[in-house]
Amino acid sequence: MIRHLETEATRPNRVVVLGAGGFVGQDIVRHLNESQIEVVSLSSSDVDLTKPESVERLRGMVRDGDSLVIVSAITPDKGKDVATLMRNFTMGQHVSAFLEEQKCSHVLYISSDAVYSDDANPVRENSCCDPNSFHGLMHLVRERLFSAALQKIKTPYLILRPCAIYGAQDTHNSYGPNRFLREALKEHKIKLFGQGEEKRDHIYIKDLSRVAALGLLHRSQGVLNVATGNSISFFNLAEMIARLCGDDVKIEGSPRANPVTHRHFDTTAIHKAFPEFEITRLEDGISETFEEMRASIGT
């Protein structure tokens, strides 16, 4: 589903990360730094994308020939309402206006698997995009806005659509590995919706950063899902985390409010795009995250 403009990995001149203050942006910056790729980190304190003047401000900060990674978004933990959606659209509108006029070498947008319809199973890059949340709708609209802007100036454009991301620095605390780890470490219990029957795929933040870097090195264009291809039930995930955290962690079910749904990914495209890319096994990623969290909590 993606095409590499650089068949051999070629270091970009400079990478600007928009949204470098967030969980994903921070880790991409960390990885690019470790890979000795020059990075400029921009967060909302450097440029407020909700403001019209951000377009001009970006022009002063981004140079022709830069590669641009766009991660900025107001995440669902900060609001799932219409007002948040409209603010996210506004940010997208300003970035889009900037992109139309800027000669970037390559643009990478970190989108989400929330763009796909709920019944897309297994999810592939060409699965139907019919988001059921404002968060998914926001990403889909921004994907298209940026695409339209970049087509005008013929700039290569890569969209990454990760599944649920986990990692120690995640502040979102959404239902899944991060919340389970925090609950287990602090409260010695993990609370499940229903009995945790739903199966989901979880990608380690470091894997997402590595794929983003590979996309930049190859100036890849197109759409690529970032997932492991192995979905696990929340119950089995909770068990895995409970084992890590100690015997006294209890897994508590709750009355089911919604029907059980599952999501699986067909990861063929990522194998084809980056044959040597090795996806971190969930057990290993969770274990690393656990160690990091434990160190920061001091338990």
């Binding site: 291809g229 063929t268 044959p275 040597e276 090795e278």
Partner: protein
């Protein structure tokens, strides 16, 4: 005298089969060298039993690069295979040129039959075109469905299940000589309007694709839930609504070109006429998905392990390059698409009949024998079920390989013997058999 125009696979097989039924045959092809070779009894491709059939009927068939010889024929078949592009779209230009060249040479009263793979509507348009070229002659045009199967072409050509003939007027009798020719094969002859015959061919292939898609879909479930598709197949075949000869073997997607052509044609017609083709889209999607079965397996079972053992790039032995056994065709071969996306890894390939003109990438090496390909390999993939592979000893394979993974989608090797030899064994439609490595 029966004529054939177009010496590709279809034309060569059909002309020899016609000679084998006792008819005098003139087979025309543009290339003199090819005609010379065929007149010497040599077949330019691999097709079981065809060379022997030609040898035993040589006296009744003459291959020529001189189109004017076809003017002696009462019946002329246009039997050029129509090539397709990567999307399955037909390129009819060579067939059109051939028809143009031959029609002007046909004798008065000749019967012209299109045997090539043409889309619905082609023959009626051709009939109108030929009316303008008749020039005082009376020519009759028919379309005859071909159901050639690579690797089983001789059997299919000599013993067809039925003939399906498209006619401008299905109520009129077929010309005498054409009728005699078809009768020689002793099978039912179904005459229908052009469009129906053209769509019958496609309908046959849609039924086959449908069965294979069912097999692929259910086989994947078998792999996940611990069922074995080979145990289920006999039960299905005993159901009269499914039948003994149903296409129920799971595979690595649809390949070879012909089925893909018909899928593309149905999608194109549905788009043009606004009919529902969602099921066809699903078949195409399933086919693409299954084609990558071995790739996903390698990324699950072989590549991460090799990388964890600090052996950065595993060596992968691949048996079979043809899209199926008993053919040299590699059109849409799942092996070639697999090799293409394994560029960083060393591939050691072997095929009993196919030698690639150029190596797909720098890490690709074509071996001279099956065992040679296994030397130092971390995994063996048996991508084409050539019969000769089943007689290779598992012990020999084990001794040649360094790794212990056999990916055998079609079950060519004995699964038990592989497991006994310490291999992790993977087959389409069956749960994997694994040792704890």
């Amino acid at each position: 005298m029966i004529g054939f125009a177009g010496l590709s696979h279809l034309g060569i097989v059909s002309s020899i089969a016609t000679a084998a039924k006792g008819f005098e045959v003139i087979a025309y092809g543009e290339t003199a060298a090819l005609c010379d070779r065929l007149n010497e009894g040599k077949i330019p491709f691999f097709e079981p039993e065809l060379e022997e059939l030609l040898a035993s009927n040589k006296q009744r068939i003459h291959f020529t690069a001189d189109a004017s010889e076809l003017s002696r024929c009462e019946v002329i078949y246009f039997a050029l295979d129509v090539p397709t592009d990567d999307s399955g779209r037909s390129d009819l230009s060579a067939l059109d040129q051939l028809i143009e060249r031959v029609v002007v040479l046909a004798r008065n009263g000749a019967t012209l039959i299109v045997l090539s793979q043409v889309p619905p509507g082609f023959t009626r348009k051709l009939a109108r075109r030929i009316e303008r070229l008749e020039d005082g002659r009376s020519l009759q045009i028919f379309y005859q469905v071909e159901t050639l199967i690579f690797g089983r072409a001789v059997e299919r050509a000599l013993h067809p299940e039925r003939f399906i003939v498209g006619s401008s007027d299905p109520h009129e009798s077929l010309p005498k000589i054409y009728s005699e020719l078809l009768s020689a094969f002793a099978c039912p002859v179904l005459v229908m309007r052009y469009e129906s015959a053209e769509l019958t061919k496609i309908s046959i292939n849609m039924c086959l694709v449908s069965s294979v898609s069912v097999a692929n879909t259910m086989a994947e479930l078998c792999e996940k839930i611990g069922a074995d598709w080979t145990e289920i197949i006999p039960a299905l075949k005993l159901d009269k609504r499914i039948g003994q000869h149903a296409y129920l073997s799971p595979g690595l997607g649809i390949a070879g070109g012909n089925l893909e052509r018909d899928l593309a044609t149905v999608v194109s017609l549905a788009n043009e006429f606004g009919t529902d083709d969602s099921v066809v889209d699903a078949w195409i999607s399933n086919s693409r998905y299954r084609r990558d079965w071995a790739l996903r397996l390698l990324h699950r079972e072989v590549i991460p392990r090799a990388q964890q053992q600090e052996k950065k790039n595993p060596v992968i032995a691949v048996w079979g390059l043809a899209y199926k056994q008993d053919t040299t065709s590699t059109k849409n071969s799942p092996t070639l698409s697999l090799i293409d996306v394994l560029k960083p890894f060393s591939i050691r390939a072997y095929d009993p009949q196919v030698v690639l003109d150029r190596e797909p990438h720098a890490n690709f090496f074509q071996s001279s024998s099956a065992i040679e390909a296994c030397k130092g390999a971390d995994a063996l993939l048996i991508m084409t079920p050539w019969r000769e592979f089943s007689s290779i000893s598992v012990a020999q394979i084990r001794d040649a390989m360094t790794g212990r993974v056999v990916v055998d989608p079609y079950g060519v090797l004995d699964a038990g013997a592989c497991v006994e030899a310490g291999f992790n064994y993977f087959k389409l439609g069956s749960p994997s058999i694994k040792e704890q490595l």
